[in-house]
């Protein structure tokens, strides 16, 4: 290890460090700063250590929101992932319609999130909404503003409508990369449709599906706009997720200390989830050799 040391090289990374500092570290440290102090005004502050964290972790509303959040993410992933793969498998691989299908699929992804919320808010209304009226017509008294279950069903449907395309497009891109010979070989081996999926497609889709799960996991865990527009967190608190509770705390009640502690915990939770998922995938990848 006799490499020449040249400390001036650090100057080269300085611009990057500055950008990262301004974009990530400094704002984050501000939050950390608030989370360990009780700040009344510029001159009056009190160091409280981990009190805000303890308080947040004992807050039943926080724990409820966290549970709802985990349930929501698990549900949408459980639906969007298989559904997206199913849709991707149904898209023809070539031909004149492929382009059109892909564009149509991408439309939900191009709609601003608050518009998505508004669309579904109208669509699911029991009085004038197409979907709400249809369900009522089937003899079910549907009202997502009054029934927690109905609110959840509507929310999940909205998210599935909004994001399944992303999984489908990712899976489709993965499928198109599979050489035709792999399918031909499977046909000659007498493999059925399920075996083709299980042995030919799925192993070659792993990489894109990891990305899809990661994106959907992070995004659904941080969902804010659509439920805010659709249900406003109600009825009661039944659709209040972490981000919404946090916002009401920080902006509504101006509890900056607890909100800061909450933010840090929230950030760590997302980080932890992604890390857990990623390392488990890497581990199983290594196992597969």
């Amino acid at each position: 290890m006799n490499r020449p040391q040249n400390n001036r090289a650090w100057l080269g990374v300085l611009p990057v460090l500055l950008i990262v500092a301004f974009s990530a570290v400094i704002p984050l440290m501000t939050v950390v700063n608030y989370s360990v102090q009780d700040i009344f005004d510029v001159n009056t502050r009190l160091f409280v250590g981990f009190d805000w964290y303890r308080e947040t972790l004992r807050d039943p509303r926080f724990l409820d929101a966290l549970l709802r959040q985990l349930g929501f993410s698990a549900l949408v992933l459980a639906i969007e992932l298989p559904l997206g793969i199913l849709v991707a498998r149904a898209i023809p691989r070539e031909g004149r319609w492929v382009g059109l299908i892909l564009v149509l699929l991408a439309i939900p992804l191009l709609i601003p999130w608050n518009v998505v919320g508004t669309i579904w808010q109208l669509f699911a209304r029991p009085d004038i909404g197409l979907f709400g009226q249809l369900v009522n017509g089937l003899g079910i008294e549907f009202n997502y503003t009054a029934e927690p279950l109905h609110a959840w069903v509507t929310l999940i449907m909205m998210d599935v409508w909004h994001w399944t395309s992303l999984v489908a497009l990712l899976a489709f891109s993965g499928l198109t990369a599979i050489p035709a010979a792999c399918y031909q070989a499977a046909v000659m081996d007498g493999a059925g449709s399920w075996q083709v999926f299980r042995h030919v497609e799925l192993p070659r889709l792993t990489a894109v599906l990891v990305i899809a799960v990661l994106l959907r996991l992070m995004d659904s865990f941080m969902i804010y706009t659509e439920p805010f527009v659709l249900t406003g967190g109600g009825p009661g608190n039944s659709t209040t997720f972490l981000s919404q509770y946090l916002t009401s705390m920080a902006v509504g009640q101006f509890d900056l200390g607890p909100a800061a502690a909450f933010s840090v915990l929230y950030f760590l939770a997302v980080l932890l989830l992604c890390w857990l998922f990623y390392t488990s995938v890497i581990a199983s990848d290594g196992e597969r050799g």
Binding site: Q184, M188, H199
Partner: protein
């Protein structure tokens, strides 16, 4: 294993104006290693897909042991295929890959067969590994093994299986494949554009050109007596030299530049215009005045042994390129004569060797 017969197989893709394959007739006996040789666009892939069943064939055109398989699915035809690059199930071990085509057998029998073939192919050491951990050659060996696993396999198709292998490995792979083919008595059809692969692998070779089989024969027959100019030209490196002339009283004659007539040799065919073919191996530069007058342009060294340099002489006779393959000692650019082994001369009319041709096939 089965005998494979094509009977007047003609195939046209929907919406295509011309037939991709026309009137193919071929019989491949049980246990033969057969090669289909053709340049790209000759119809090799189409024929391959018709044989495997990926494309349905017209009724009455493809028979496996007298069974018309034209409409049968690949699995029912019991056809397996090795592709240009290794095609394996990535999430399975090599052993699981080998066992997959025989999943109808008892587990013990599967294992026994798989280990036996793996041993012959020299991949028994990697049976528990996933394909991702293998080298390219090992992967292709595993794919070859997989194609040979079905106990009742009727035909093994090989689609340029050595394309992905490095040149140094190709020879060994081909030998392994050939030995295994002989051991198992497998009927194999090896599709390639590479004449070296075709001629060194196969018992017999069919030359496919523009959707037709021009000739089916042993490698020696393709070299010594090509039925068609294209076979003469396509097989051989470089291919057959061709010059236009005329047959009179059983003598092959060409006109020389100064209005004279030169006899190349005897050719016992009817009188008339004729194109004469001779391979570069059958010709040598000489000082004798009765040879074919040429202008030597250059030499290409191909190798050396016992202190002699061998190679190609690139020459020209009245605008036609002429190659000879010989000892290059003393060869210099300039005017020279080429002596052709007279008894090896081949005559072509309308593309076909005189006496061969579609009628004679």
């Amino acid at each position: 294993m089965a005998e494979i017969r094509l009977e007047g197989l003609t195939f046209r893709y929907p919406n295509a104006s011309e037939a991709t394959l026309s009137e193919l007739t071929l019989a491949v006996p049980r246990g033969e290693a057969h090669a289909l040789l053709g340049s790209s666009g000759a119809g090799k892939s189409t024929l391959l897909n018709l044989l495997s069943g990926l494309l349905p064939a017209p009724p009455g055109s493809i028979f496996f042991d007298d069974v018309d398989v034209g409409r049968l699915e690949p699995w029912a035809r019991k056809v397996t295929q090795v592709f240009q690059f290794p095609v394996l199930y990535e999430a399975m071990t090599v052993l699981e890959n080998l066992c997959f085509p025989m999943r109808e057998l008892a587990a013990g029998e599967q294992q026994r067969r798989a280990r036996d073939v793996a041993e012959r192919l020299g991949i028994h050491g990697v049976l528990t590994a996933k394909p991702a951990a293998l080298t390219l050659v090992q992967k292709q060996l595993a794919a070859i093994g997989k194609a040979l696993m079905r106990p009742d396999v009727s035909l093994v198709l090989l689609d340029e299986p050595l394309t992905a292998a490095e040149p140094g490995h190709k020879w060994r792979l081909r030998q392994t494949l050939r030995a295994l083919q002989a051991d198992l008595g497998a009927t194999m059809i090896y599709v390639t554009h590479d004449q070296t692969e075709a001629l060194t692998f196969a018992d017999r070779v069919s030359v496919l050109h523009e959707g037709r089989i021009l000739q089916t024969g042993t490698p020696e027959a393709l070299v010594d007596a090509p039925d068609h100019e294209h076979v003469g030209y396509f097989v051989g490196s470089p291919g057959m030299n061709l010059i236009d002339g005329e047959v009179r009283n059983g003598r092959a004659l060409i006109r020389t530049g100064d209005g004279g007539v030169l006899e190349l040799g005897a050719l016992p065919v009817a009188d008339g215009p004729c194109r004469f073919g001779f391979r570069p191996e059958w010709a040598v530069l000489s000082q004798e005045p009765e040879g074919l007058p040429v202008q030597v342009h250059a030499t290409r060294t191909l190798g050396a042994s016992r202190g002699e340099t061998h190679g190609l002489v690139v020459a020209e006779h009245q605008g036609t390129e002429i190659f000879t393959r010989q000892n290059l000692a003393g060869v210099v650019p300039g005017p020279a004569r080429v002596r052709i082994e007279p008894e090896r001369l081949v005559g072509f009319r309308d593309g076909w060797r005189v006496g061969a041709g579609p009628a004679g096939q």
